[in-house]
């Protein structure tokens, strides 16, 4: 039986009057890659952003239900949101490096979370190595991060998440702005990261989902329609909607 790392319980989300997520119940097993798939606008990004409380700042978002990181209720007022985001990292659709040097992109989070100064260079090097970026940037760590290629920027964004040693990494279509070669590199990276992290990834790309996922969740109009192993969802979908979607009949 898989160990459950992250879970949503009867989760509903409204933007103003409009209900975007409808009674979502889902368990993400530890050290596995779970893909969220579904047609555009079905609420994948919205669901993903619930897990690190990214909706906190939008005043018209209202959430009920619960999300748990192991036993910790992440919407409990007692728990610090910054501590939760340190444990649940996020990589965005468009690479968003800070307008600072490569090194400062990596050191920023370590500094605000007050890691010991003398350990920082070592931590940065190992995170960059894990993200397959070290060899490409080790001689130009002072270079502005925005000068890197799109694919390198995205690996830097993954590296700066990894450097905090989170438990869960959320990724929202991390390859959608990248060329096929960069996409391949990131997919390899994701597979290599799962031994240490629990990964939840939104993807539009059915081939990608099949290449990297252990589990797949199919969403439609704000509901979780089907959730199972990658094999089951793609080869033997139970629901008619899922069958049509993975068969390429809509989306």
């Amino acid at each position: 039986m898989d160990q459950i790392k992250l879970s949503a319980h009867s989760l509903n989300l409204y933007f103003g009057e409009k209900q975007i997520l409808k009674n979502i119940n889902i368990d993400f097993p530890e050290n596995q890659v779970t893909s969220l798939i579904g047609p555009s606008g079905c609420g994948k990004s919205t669901l993903l952003r619930c897990f690190n409380r990214m909706h906190d700042l939008s005043s018209d978002a209202r959430i009920d239900g619960a999300i748990k990181l192991e036993d910790l209720d992440i919407y409990d007022k007692k728990n610090s949101v910054t501590e939760i985001r340190k444990r649940i990292g996020m990589v965005f659709q468009k690479p968003n490096p800070l307008p600072k040097s490569i090194y400062e992109n990596m050191s920023y989070a370590l500094n605000i979370h007050q890691f010991p100064k003398n350990e920082i260079p070592k931590l940065i090097e190992s995170a960059l190595r894990e993200s397959y970026l070290w060899e490409e940037v080790k001689d130009e760590l002072k270079k502005p991060a925005v000068k890197l290629s799109g694919g390198q920027q995205q690996r830097l964004c993954i590296a700066r998440t990894v450097v905090l040693r989170p438990e869960v990494i959320l990724m929202d279509e991390p390859c959608s702005a990248l060329d096929p070669i960069s996409t391949r590199k990131i997919e390899e990276l994701i597979i290599s990261l799962k031994k240490d992290y629990t990964i939840v990834i939104v993807t539009h790309n059915m081939q990608q989902a099949q290449r990297i996922s252990d589990k797949v969740a199919f969403m439609y109009l704000g509901e979780l329609i089907e959730f199972g192993s990658c094999q089951d969802v793609f080869q033997n979908p139970q629901n008619e909607l899922t069958k049509n979607y993975v068969g390429g009949h809509f989306g």
Binding site: F92, P99, I112, T161
Partner: protein
């Protein structure tokens, strides 16, 4: 055929208007510079006026204007930026913030003489600061606030949310995000707005008229509770209030040149900051 004639006419009208505007600007500048340049000299900007202001320089007016602008800056820039950060980063959209924003926009449209009256009532009288460079600087600060708030807010709006999300997702607080990413990135835009606002404030006469500017001060202002001389008022005084206007006319033009150059330098700095920002992206 008809269509191209129409286009041609359109084009000539637009080009003609542009040339006309530039021409007026050129004539004004040429007029001022040609009449003022004869009185410019090192003495003119390094000496106080002498002999009933018919001779000598305008040093106290220059230092007075610099003092005044410094006080305006110290007051208006921190408050203006803080207010813009609050409105753009913290305030939830609501009727109240809508009203606050509309009020700020309206404040920018109030005639500057009214700020002068208000400064007289508030700083000079109610707060007992007297007619002084402090009262005048604070009055100009009030005048500048709406512009600084509005331009800073525009600069903050141009920072995409993805930048804020980057640090928030790493566990930074909202304050850290603003301090470490949002403000540094918006800084060139904020500075441009601040400099243009200050260069406008430096040329204002009406708000300082009742609040501390003086006809003539012996020597430069040394403390903030003294009256002071200022370039725009000195110019006004030389060209309308002096007992021998014809005689001091070259000095008035010389003062105008100094004021224009001062404002021009500030504008060049703002232009340079914007240019550097654009080439960096």
């Amino acid at each position: 055929m008809k269509k191209s004639l129409f286009h041609f006419l359109n084009w000539t009208v637009l080009l003609g208007s542009t040339i006309l505007v530039c021409l007026f600007l050129g004539i004004i500048l040429f007029d001022i510079f040609s009449k003022g340049v004869s009185s410019l000299s090192w003495k003119f900007i390094s000496r106080p006026p002498t002999q009933g202001m018919t001779r000598g320089g305008i040093l106290p007016a220059i230092t007075g204007t610099l003092w005044l602008t410094l006080i305006t800056t110290l007051f208006a820039v921190p408050f203006g930026i803080a207010c813009a950060v609050y409105l753009n980063e913290y305030a939830k959209p609501s009727v109240l913030t809508g009203i606050i924003r509309a009020s700020i926009r309206n404040l920018a449209g109030i005639p500057s003489i009214i700020y002068g009256l208000f400064g007289l009532a508030l700083f000079v009288q109610a707060l007992h600061l007297g007619t002084s460079v402090l009262s005048a600087g604070l009055t100009l600060g009030l005048l500048s606030l709406p512009y600084i708030i509005t331009t800073t807010e525009e600069a903050l709006k141009r920072i995409p949310d993805s930048m804020r999300e980057a640090t928030l997702a790493l566990g930074a607080t909202q304050f850290e995000t603003i301090k470490d990413v949002v403000l540094p990135t918006a800084l060139p835009g904020i500075l441009t707005g601040v400099i243009l606002t200050l260069s406008r404030a430096a040329g204002e006469t009406a708000p300082i008229l009742f609040t501390g500017v003086a006809f003539y001060i012996n020597g430069s202002a040394t403390s903030v509770n003294q009256e002071f001389m200022a370039l725009p008022y000195h110019l006004y005084m030389l060209s309308t209030q002096h007992q021998s206007i014809e005689q001091v006319r070259p000095l008035a033009y010389g003062t105008a040149v100094v004021l224009i150059v001062l404002v021009f330098v500030l504008n060049i700095i703002a232009f340079y900051i914007r240019f550097k920002q654009r080439t960096q992206q």
